[in-house]
Structures are given as structure tokens and as C-alpha cells.
């Protein structure tokens, strides 16, 4: 058999050749752009040739600091097709971390969305490796800025070669992309994605039993393109000729629902916080959501009560995805097996609220101190992963040895698996509550709390206990209309029938907001330190 390298550029070439009538809807600051894949392909070739002229060569890093828009999409293909690496910088990091990761990755060029320019201007003196900046803007004139040299993206497109040939001889194990994941302590850790990993991950996203991404879909990734390749959706969409909708900067629930209505979006993906916001809107105003065949939710566990509302109240199929920056990211999806279709709606919802089945191409085991766990849905252990889109190290980082051992990624996620092979995340290793030698899942308690009609959000964390080592405390954000109307006693009574007595939180604190990470996950470390202050004061 031939051994043809699995490369990023071949995905775009398929779109150019076979789907020139399909393309991208892109919302930027000033307008909505519509480009077909032939145009995207031509612009990508022009961009690649200009980057090459600026000196970018194999192994170099090119960084983006941008929203989900068509120019960002073009960098997704142009940079790897030169054998270079696209570093998608998380725009929500602290300034300290932004300059750290750009320096650490050794980025030579930085492409910036116009409204994000001030952030880069304020860190520019810290940047040691960047030789040139490129501004992604619809404006013809470049703004006044302290950055230099600063090129106009569209000028580079105009000056580029539309017939530029993508490299065909790239080894498929060459890095194509890069993202950093925030660490519990210290600086973010970098993950390199190879051409092979991104291509195989894209094949997987098209499978009928995963996302079933198809030419007939209209796909809107709300998950940022600076966060784990927007879950791989831009690559797979181009490959399959799927229409892409890129929502641009600062989108709100209003913008999201408007794009779904206008563009007839069939599949969209984002973190639970986004879906909570959209749900709030839907509860107030009627929107036409009937084009949606799947809402993909990942990043952290979506509460069952939310899944139920989407499915039952609005008829919107909701699918849980599980993955992490180190896994490209998708490794599991909550799908119902054919013979489970006969179960009751409640039972199916129960399955759908779990992280689901491992996708083809990923190997897993769940282990605790006693070895591999029983597949009984109860025995808890740490999830270990292996596969072609699973990282084997952090980029030039000593912390590699803590996470990658014996050929397996140690996810730090505590999970159970049942006899059907359904994954259920119980907690992060560090968030698990170890009470009197037993484990309590903060996630299970949170899901139960969020099913209470008055609760908007809830997080459960461990506080030190002399007797039990650790005990759970619940931090609850009430919906505005329930403020001061729900008591600690109400909450505990609500939980009591659902859990063993020793699982019940020792305390329920009502707070205004749960601190979150830059990608919308609960920041429990921060919550614990707030709590320590509060508890020591009280």
C-alpha cells in the first residue's frame, strides 16, 4: 500500500475541489463575510506564500490572538502547510501568561484581531521572540500602534501567490498546531498537535457514531479557535465540505440564537456556561431553533437538569463530549446504543448526562490503587488514555513526567465506567473529596444542586476536617428571583433523598458568582481560597 502522509493541507484541497459552492460565514467587528471554499483556499495559498516571504519555514512557530473568524481559519491551514506550527494563544489568559507562552513557544510572527490589539500592546515589551505582527482587520488603514513592524493581513493576501502549492512532503508526525493548557499552579503547559493527530481526529468527527459531521451540516463552533483547535471542527468541516459559521468577537446568547436562525445551523459546540446563557434567553424569548440536530457540550460536565430542558422543553438534541487540551480533544461522546433506545426517557437522560462512549481510535483504562476498576459504574479510579490524538508530553516542560507515564496520559480525572462502557466523570483528582477514607464526588453533588429550581450554579469543594480529613462544602449561586428565598436547610433537605448521609455538604454558602477559568470551567482552587478566608472570618 502507498504510505501518503496524513496532512492538513489535503483537507482544504478537498474542499477547494469538491465543495467550491460551500464555505464560511464569518462575523467580524464590522460585518458578516461570506466566502466559499474556493476563495478560502485561494486566500490561504496567498497567506502561506506571504508568510514564507516573511521568512517562515519548517518548524517555525506562528501565533494567533484571535476570535473565531475566517482569517483565523485561513491561518489554521496556511501555517501547517508550510511545515510551520500554528500556536493559538488563549486571549483570556493573564498578561503574564500571554507573554510567557508566546516566549516559551518561540513564536516568530503574531497575528492579532483588531479589537485585541491593546492587550498585545500592553505586553509587547515582554515579548522576546516575535519579529513581526499582522493585524486581522476589515479596515483599509492600519491604526496607530506601538507594535512594529505591523503588517495588514489583507495586504499580505493581496501580495500573495494564489497558485502557491502546499507542501506534500511533510512527515505526518510533524507538529501542525499548539495550544497551552492552564496548570493548577505555575505557568501554562504547551501541547503540540501533529498533522497525523489532527487528520485522524478529523476522520473520527465524521463518523456516524461520533458527531456524524457531514457536508449537509451547518457547523458553528462556539468553542474558541484558541482552545484545542475549536475541538477540531474547523478542520473536519473544511474536509467534508460542511458550511462553517464563525461567530466572531464577544458573541452573546442573542448573537448565537440569531446565527442559528439565520444560517440554519445544524450542529454547534461550546462549554456549559454558554448553553446556560442560551437557555436563559430561550426561557424569556421564543427563537426558531429547529434546524439544530445536535448541541455539543464539553469542557466541563453539563448538569442533567440543563440537558433535560434542552431536550424536553426545546426539542434540541444535546450531546456531552469529553476531552482535554492534551487530547486534541475528543475522546468520548454521550450517545445512546441502539438497544438502549428502548429505555425510558429518564434512563436515556441518565446515560446522556454521562461523558459517554470512547470513540474509535482511543484506548482507555481506569485505575486506582487496587488496579483497574470494575466496570460497575461505581468503582472510582483515574482515567488513563492512549491513542494517536493523545499527547505524549508537554512542550519543553519538566512537568511532563507527572502526567505522561508508561505510555499513558494520566488525565487527572476521576471516573467510573459501567458494564456498557459508559464513562462518567466523578471529579478532578484534585477536587475529589476524601472523607474518612471514602471518596465523595463533588460533580455528583453539583449536578444534584443544579437540579434545584432556585439554583443558577453550584460548586462543591473540600474543606479540611480534623476528624474526616476533608468534608464537602457547597457554594450556591441562586437565580435572582430566588435570592434570600432559599435557605441552607432547604438545600440540604433537597439533597437528602439522593445521597448517603455522609455525602451531604457540611455547609451551604450562598455566593454571587463562581470563579471560572478562561474557558468557563469552575476555578475551584480560587473558590477554596475564597472559602478559607470566609470560613476563618466566620
Amino acid at each position: 500500500m502507498m504510505n501518503v502522509p496524513l496532512t492538513i493541507s489535503s483537507m482544504l484541497e478537498r474542499a477547494e475541489n469538491f465543495f467550491p459552492k460551500k464555505g464560511v460565514v464569518s462575523r467580524t467587528l464590522s460585518k458578516t463575510h461570506r466566502l466559499n471554499y474556493k476563495e478560502i483556499g485561494e486566500r490561504t495559498r496567498r497567506l502561506a506564500s506571504s508568510l514564507e516571504r516573511l521568512g517562515i519555514k519548517e518548524g517555525d512557530k506562528v501565533a494567533t490572538f484571535a476570535w473565531n473568524q475566517h482569517r483565523h481559519l485561513e491561518t489554521y491551514f496556511a501555517v501547517p502547510s508550510l511545515g510551520a506550527v500554528l500556536h493559538m494563544v488563549n486571549i483570556r489568559l493573564s498578561e503574564e501568561h500571554i507573554s510567557y507562552i508566546i516566549n516559551h513557544a518561540n513564536d516568530r510572527i503574531l497575528l492579532i484581531d483588531e479589537d485585541l490589539l491593546p492587550i498585545i500592546e500592553s505586553v509587547k515589551d515582554e515579548l522576546k521572540t516575535v519579529e513581526a505582527f499582522i493585524l486581522m482587520t476589515d479596515q483599509e488603514e492600519l491604526p496607530e500602534t506601538t507594535l512594529e513592524p505591523l503588517y495588514s493581513y489583507e495586504d499580505l493576501i493581496n501580495q500573495g501567490d494564489k497558485d502557491f502549492q502546499f507542501r506534500k512532503d511533510i512527515d505526518e508526525n510533524t507538529p501542525a498546531g499548539m495550544c497551552y493548557t492552564s496548570a493548577t499552579t505555575g505557568n501554562p503547559k504547551g501541547v503540540l498537535y501533529s498533522h497525523r493527530a489532527l487528520t485522524l481526529h478529523s476522520m473520527m468527527l465524521g463518523m456516524a457514531d461520533t458527531l456524524a459531521l457531514s457536508e449537509s451540516d451547518v457547523c458553528m463552533p462556539l468553542v474558541p479557535m484558541f482552545h484545542v483547535n475549536a475541538w477540531g471542527l474547523p478542520y473536519a468541516s473544511a474536509w467534508y465540505g460542511t458550511q462553517l459559521v464563525l461567530p466572531g468577537p464577544n458573541f452573546t446568547p442573542e448573537v448565537i440564537t440569531e446565527l442559528i436562525e439565520n444560517e440554519k445551523v445544524t450542529i454547534t459546540a461550546g462549554v456549559p456556561t454558554i448553553w446556560l446563557g442560551v437557555l436563559n434567553l430561550l426561557e424569556k424569548e421564543k427563537r426558531e431553533m429547529s434546524s439544530l440536530r445536535a448541541v455539543i457540550c464539553g469542557g466541563s460536565a453539563a448538569p442533567m437538569s440543563m440537558i433535560k430542558k434542552y431536550e424536553e422543553d426545546y426539542g434540541i438534541p444535546f450531546m456531552h463530549a469529553y476531552g482535554m487540551t492534551e487530547t486534541t480533544p475528543i475522546v468520548a461522546l454521550s450517545r445512546i446504543k441502539s438497544y438502549q433506545q428502548e429505555l425510558s426517557n429518564e434512563e436515556k437522560l441518565e446515560i446522556r448526562s454521562k461523558q459517554g462512549l470512547f470513540v474509535p481510535g482511543v484506548e482507555m483504562k481506569i485505575v486506582n490503587e487496587q488496579g483497574p476498576v470494575e466496570w460497575d459504574g461505581k468503582d472510582m479510579g483515574e482515567l488513563l488514555l492512549r491513542g494517536n490524538w493523545i499527547a505524549d508530553s508537554y512542550f519543553e516542560d519538566d512537568r511532563t513526567i507527572d502526567t505522561f507515564k508508561d505510555g499513558w496520559l494520566h488525565t487527572g480525572d476521576i471516573a467510573t465506567i459501567d458494564e456498557e462502557g459508559t464513562l462518567k466523570l466523578v471529579d478532578r483528582t484534585k477536587d475529589l473529596i476524601k472523607s474518612g477514607g471514602e471518596w465523595i464526588s463533588s460533580v455528583d453533588l453539583e449536578n444534584a444542586l443544579m437540579a434545584h429550581e432556585g439554583v443558577f450554579e453550584a460548586a462543591v469543594v473540600a474543606v479540611p476536617s480534623e476528624k474526616w480529613l476533608e468534608r464537602p462544602v457547597a457554594c450556591v449561586v441562586l437565580k435572582p428571583e430566588y435570592k434570600d428565598k432559599v435557605t441552607e436547610k432547604d438545600i440540604i433537605e433537597f439533597l437528602t433523598p439522593k445521597f448517603a448521609k455522609w455525602w451531604l455538604p457540611d455547609k451551604v454558602l450562598f455566593i454571587d458568582e463562581i470563579p471560572k477559568t478562561t474557558v468557563g470551567k469552575f476555578l475551584k482552587r480560587e473558590l477554596r481560597s475564597q472559602l478559607e478566608e470566609k470560613m476563618s472570618v466566620s
Copy 2:
């Protein structure tokens, strides 16, 4: 990223772990077997350990001479998991070719279906490399035979180790399977399939825009397991936990429709001859076919009139597939793009009757003496292919240089491609009729002929012409009830409105049967020599 070899055994392991309730229905000579994937997995491990005990090691060839049944399926996984190569011998070859390919492949062990034993007995003196025979039978006692040593398959299963560990360290480019394709002249040519090719091909079969093979399917490959890996369906089905129905020896249209009814088959695949036979049955008797979501037809072009009948008269979705022994095999499928759904039924049928869109992972070009053809649906050229499941050579065969040139497989198929990228096969290079410097497609004429109500089958071949170099002659098989009721003049008049005058056959011959290859394709070489006799007599 990790680089984990893409290997056959990981597909079966997923079935064992995640789909132990799904499995295989297997029809053998004596009964219908039902085994789940846990049992298939255990039996495969036992078989692999027994083969290893018999001396099979990495690189060795193990051959099968068998129908589509569960034991054949077990060899599909057991042999490659030892690093050995499964040679699936085409049982319909001549005795001369059977012994040639077994010797040429250097097969050490031969597994035989019980009813096929006499064929092997009669060639046994020609076999130079086979050291042991294994009989696949439901019977406890082995029959009297001249083959020796002869082992019982089930004895080897019983003696095997159910906890045998599949090898994890196999290089993904290692050959896993092997089939021979018949040549126009001379001996068959061998094609080796690597673990990488078979795995990537299996990923492709699961894509929503290809076959969308899913856990929820019940898949019945009618295409023989000795013919290009049964189009990859056994591998992909196990991987996805898809229920498999294996129809066993000598199945008839009655058996096929009964299995579809009883097992609620959702997807099935075979050559046009099979579907013509089933259609004949359906026209006589009512059958419950509503479980079918796709009939996959490949091997040679299905006439549009047949596709139309399946779709319109019986509501059975019909999908054209294109591929060959050298391509693992699937490279194109006739699917309608989303925006083509608005076309009329006739226009959609027209698209469905073509070979369709190239699947993700395959590169193509169509070239003639002037270079690449226009994508206008008219310009004809030879189809060239490149990709990870495309062969790069024939196994130890000098004819490699005729077919594999400059990194491309030269298919020998003459095709057109339209502006949507839809492939249409026009002819085999050798069957194309070159009349007065222009090309006439025998396939187009055949399709038109088969749309005539009285025509059962038709083939068009070139006969030498002094003036025009070549001219087309049509060989027509009438349906029994139309015998002697349709004349040459009727046929020519039927064709006249559809073609340029110089395309019309010079002669229409009514014959009893069109000679076919072992896999049901028209054997035009044979037809031409029959014709030469006839024409020289007349």
C-alpha cells in the same frame, strides 16, 4: 502526540470491550450460528494462539478458502494479530489459478470450508508451500480426505488460549491481508493490504458522508470475504459494534431476502448481478425489505433502470460504490450533496447512477493524452488514484510497472468528472471503442440498452473495422417473456434518440447469457472471442 500503530486487533478489542451484546449471525452448511463479539473475540484469541503453536510467525502467509461465515471472520483478526498475512483465496478461480496464487503467495496454512474441500483435494498435488490444512466445519468428525495433515478448526479453538494477547508492537505498514485480482491475460496479480490501509479504510466507512456504518446498523456483506476484504465491512462492523450477518455458502435471492427480513438488515453490499437476481424475486413475490437503509452496489456499474426500480418501486435506497482490488476497495460513492436535494427525482437518479464523489482520504486525477481532463462531465481520460488504501505494487510481479507509475495507481478505467466532482466511469481502457478517432463508451450504451423493458442484460464490445478501426456491437439477453419478440430494429430505434448516430451499434446480437468473471463482472474478452467466431461464421 503519541504515535500508536493503527492495527487490526484494536478494532476487535473495541468490540469485545464495548459491544459484548452485539455480534454475528452466521449461516453455515448445517445451521445458523449466533455469537456475540465477546465470544468472537475469545475464539479469535484461541485461534491465534493455536496458529502460533502450529508455527505461524510474523510475515507468514495463512490462506482461507471459504464463504462469508463467522470462522472466516475470526481468521480476519487472528492472522494479522500475529503479524502474519491473511490470504483470502478466491474460490471461483480456475484450479490452475488457485494453485498458482497459493504457491505464489507462499501460503503455509490453508483454512477450508467443508463443502469446498473437493476443490482443494483436486489441486493438492500442485501445492508446493502449504504445510497444513484446517477444516472449517460444524461436524465433530473430520471427513475422509487425501489432505494431510488436516486439523479441525473447532479442535484448534478448544485447544487455544482464550487469554492470548494480540501483538501491540506491529508496525502499521506491515501487511495484514492479501487478495489476487485477475489479469486480462496471464496469472492473477497479488495485492497486499497493510494494517494502516485497512484501519484508515475502516474509519472512512463509518463517516456520515460515505456508508455511515454505525453501531445501530445490521450489516450483511454479500460481497465475498475472499474478494477485497468484503469491501472492508467485516473490519469496520466489528470496530463500531455493528451487528454482522454472514450469509454463508451458495446464497440465493430467497436466502438474501429471508435474512434481510429475519435479521432486519439495514445495509448490505454486493455486485449488480446479485441485485438483479433479488429484483427478479421482488417482482414476483412480496418481501418485507423496510429495514434496509442502503443497498451498496459495486464491482461494475449498475444500470440506472435497476437503481430506479429499487428506489421507486420498492423504496430501497441504492448507492453506487466504486473501487477495485488495488484500492481496498472503496474510493468513490454516489451520494447526493445537500444542495442537490432540490433537484428533480430524474436528475438525482442521474447522479446516483454515476460512481459519485471521492471519499475523504483519496486523491485523484483523470488524464488523457492532452493532460488533465476538464471537469465538464464530457472530457474522457484514465482515472489515477493516490492514497493510504491504494496499492503501490503487485506482490512480486513484473507487471507492477504497467500499473503503478510516478506514485499513482493507473486504474485502467476511463472516466469523466463533472463540475461537482462526480466521477462517471465510461469504460475500461481495454473495452473503450475507438471509432474513427473518437471514443465510444460501451458502458453508456449498455446502460441505455438495459433500460429497455425486454432486456435482461446487455454488453457492448468493439469489433475490428477497416474504415473506423473499431465499431460497437451489442450483445443482448432478453427476458424469457420477451424472447423472439424484440428485434434488432426495435433495439436500434430505442437507442436512436439517446445517442449520436455514429455511437449506435452496427449490430445487435441476441444471446443466451453474457459470460462473467468469478466476481460477476462482464467478461468482455470472452464475449469478443465468442463474437469473432459468430461473426466469422455468419
